[in-house]
């Protein structure tokens, strides 16, 4: 243990974790936010944006695999994928594991995050070199409103939707996400903790039920996000997201077919959540 510590300043969580810091790797301002990468003994490299931990090398796969692999396996043949946010590259890496995927459009507002990831987080940023990956530097809501492309999956990998990314969860934005999806497409987003933000999750589920035939959510246990019981909300036009439609043949550490089946919120809990 060194004496140096980092404490989160997340204004959206009622708990703040403290990390030991072995080494500060990078601390800089991007065009939109402050970006910090440090190394901690247990967690490895840690990416922090505006004082909030975004990922650690130790546990990022729980988040990135569950955000992406559940819908990737619930869809019979995902070829065109849109990622909104996700500048660290973790979601892109997961999506590109699938041979069926022909093209991934990433829309990330802050190029500074991508640059820092390529520089300091090599296990996350492998996908940027893949010819199937295309990066656009713009706001997610603007891209959704303007594009004529159609996707099998829309993956919303944003910063806190109860904070800076609130614009991505308006009626307009969710309706637009629905309209850029193909007829059997699926939408997925990280939607905070059930412990701390059940009201937000409820609101998202209710909205998704209006814009998609099926609204549902799975959860994933995360050690480093305040609240820990993390929700991944899904809107689907046709396919039941609870049902894996393809065998898992890609390399994963946490995701597996049985994990997929047990990850969804128990039906009675989901009913109580949306009833409020």
């Amino acid at each position: 243990m060194t004496d140096l510590q980092f404490q989160e300043t997340d204004p959206f969580a009622p708990i703040h974790y403290v990390y030991d810091v072995e080494e500060i790797i990078c601390s800089r301002r991007t065009r939109y936010q402050h970006l910090l990468v440090f190394r901690s003994r247990y967690f490895g490299r840690v990416l922090v944006l505006d004082g909030v931990v975004q990922l650690t090398e130790r546990d990022e796969h729980f988040y990135h695999e569950m955000l992406t692999q559940v819908v990737l396996h619930a869809h019979p043949d995902p070829a065109d994928v849109l990622i909104i946010g996700g500048g660290d590259g973790g979601s892109l890496r997961e999506v590109l594991k699938h041979q069926s995927v022909k093209r991934v459009q990433m829309v990330e507002l802050d190029r500074g995050v991508i640059e820092a990831s390529r520089e300091f987080l090599p296990t996350l940023s492998t996908g940027f070199a893949d010819p199937r990956a295309h990066v656009l530097e713009t706001k997610g809501e603007e891209f959704l409103a303007g594009t004529s492309d159609r996707f099998d999956l829309v993956i919303m990998d944003s910063t806190d939707p109860v904070g800076p990314a609130a614009n991505l969860f308006t009626d307009e934005c969710l309706a637009a996400a629905g309209s850029v999806l193909k007829d059997d497409g699926m939408f997925v987003a990280q939607t905070e903790s059930l412990h701390f933000h059940a009201d937000f999750v409820r609101e998202v589920q209710r909205k998704l039920a209006r814009f998609f035939k099926i609204a549902d959510l799975c959860t994933v246990p995360l050690s480093t996000y305040g609240g820990n019981w993390w929700t991944i909300s899904i809107g689907s036009k046709v396919h039941d997201p609870r049902e894996p439609r393809r065998q898992c043949t890609v390399a994963t550490k946490y995701y597996a077919e049985d994990v997929h089946r047990q990850a969804f919120l128990a039906p009675s809990l989901r009913r109580k959540l949306i009833e409020g």
Partner: protein, 372 residues
């Protein structure tokens, strides 16, 4: 009596004499066969099981596994289905007058389609579940129904058209028509009349700019009690013929059988609790009556009643066990000279029996058991 009911009766008679009564013996194979009958007769049409007729979880699970969809009327039914993990797109709310809590949960869980028949219901939906897809409940003749449903729900054609237009103006999605020819409807031609009436609403709505897609031809499919009834296939043929005569080929038809799916799959076994001579009448008291299972006996359903022993028959007043004088199953039933403890079987008792039952006067609701 149909062969299937006869088979169930044999199975019921073979149960151990020690089995506690009253008990409702249900047969899954029979429900499966009935569902497959509907499936075969109605092709691509959606089949919604009217959960109210028998909401036992094992029946719901069985039908869910077979691909059946579900029609609910209340918050309690909807909660039950959601808690069992049934996906909201497989559920419709057929009740045109819904509790606000039901509207809210249906809207926020993503239920596809619901019925309405009043301005107040439109406003409720607008406030609590904006953008919901709705169908108007049309009043239709209930000729041949032994349990008519007219008056309570449904509006006449003029009003139906106005309501559809209004629903659209208020931001709902007017999408179809629901009708119900009455429960236990024994005249297939009644569906033909209802479909013709629906077509007039459909056309007039189109003239007003409301393009409909769905027609729910309800339940009403009869079960065999004492008299022979038209089969599902016969009724389906009439429905298909009428729909084809009027409607465009892309109309989405759905049916909502309850009784038609589960009634014949159930045998209610009861025991003689007491007997007495009163004036000139012979009274037979069973451990099941109108409060704990046979409510429909007072409303028009005449059950086939099979005694466990033979012999010369006489006329009995068949009574339930409670102290209420309303608790009489039948004033004139021909049965042999039964003794206390003898079994009596009611056939086609799988629907609207235990679902209606109360524990009035401390007499238990029949337990449901499944014949294997």
């Amino acid at each position: 009596m149909t062969a299937d009911i006869d088979r169930l009766l044999q199975a019921a008679r073979a149960r151990p004499a020690t089995e506690k009564t009253p008990v409702l013996l249900m047969d899954k194979a029979s429900i499966k066969a009935r569902y497959e009958g509907f499936r075969a007769c109605f092709g691509r049409a959606r089949v919604y099981y009217a959960v109210k007729s028998n909401p036992h979880p094992a029946i719901i699970t069985l039908l869910h596994g077979l691909g059946c969809d579900f029609e609910v009327s209340s918050l309690g039914e909807l909660r039950r289905l959601l808690d069992m993990g049934i996906a909201p797109p497989r559920i419709t709310v057929g009740n045109p007058v819904k509790a606000p809590e039901l509207v809210r949960l249906a809207g926020s869980s993503g239920i596809d389609f619901t019925a309405f028949d009043s301005d107040a219901e439109i406003e409720k939906l607008v406030a609590l579940a904006p953008g919901t897809r709705v169908g108007v409940r049309l009043n239709v003749p209930n000729d041949g129904s032994e349990w008519p449903l007219t008056k309570k729900f449904g509006v006449e054609a003029d009003r139906a058209v106005e309501l559809l237009v209004r629903a659209g103006q208020r931001g709902l999605v007017p999408e179809g028509i629901f009708f119900h020819v009455g429960s236990q409807c024994t005249l297939a031609g009644t569906w033909a009349k209802a479909i013709e009436k629906s077509w007039s609403v459909w056309q007039r709505a189109a003239e007003r700019g409301v393009r409909l897609r769905q027609l729910n031809v309800g339940g009403g499919f009869p079960a065999t009690y004492l008299r022979p009834v038209p089969s599902v296939a016969e009724i389906a043929a009439v429905i298909h013929q009428s729909v084809a005569a009027f409607f465009p080929p892309d109309v989405e038809i759905s049916v909502s059988p309850g009784r038609g799916l589960v009634a014949e799959a159930g045998i209610l076994a009861a025991s003689v609790m007491a007997r007495a001579a009163r004036d000139s009448e012979q009274w037979l008291y069973l451990d099941v009556g109108v409060f704990n299972g046979l409510m429909e006996a007072v409303g028009g359903i005449k059950y086939r009643i099979i005694p466990s022993r033979g012999g010369p028959t006489r006329q009995w007043v068949l009574s339930g066990p409670t102290c209420d004088s309303f608790d009489v199953i039948s004033n004139e039933v021909e049965l042999p000279d039964l003794e206390v403890g003898d079994r009596v079987y009611f056939t086609s008792a799988g629907a609207y029996t235990t679902a209606y039952a109360s524990e009035f006067d401390g007499f238990p609701i029949p337990e449901i058991r499944f014949l294997e």
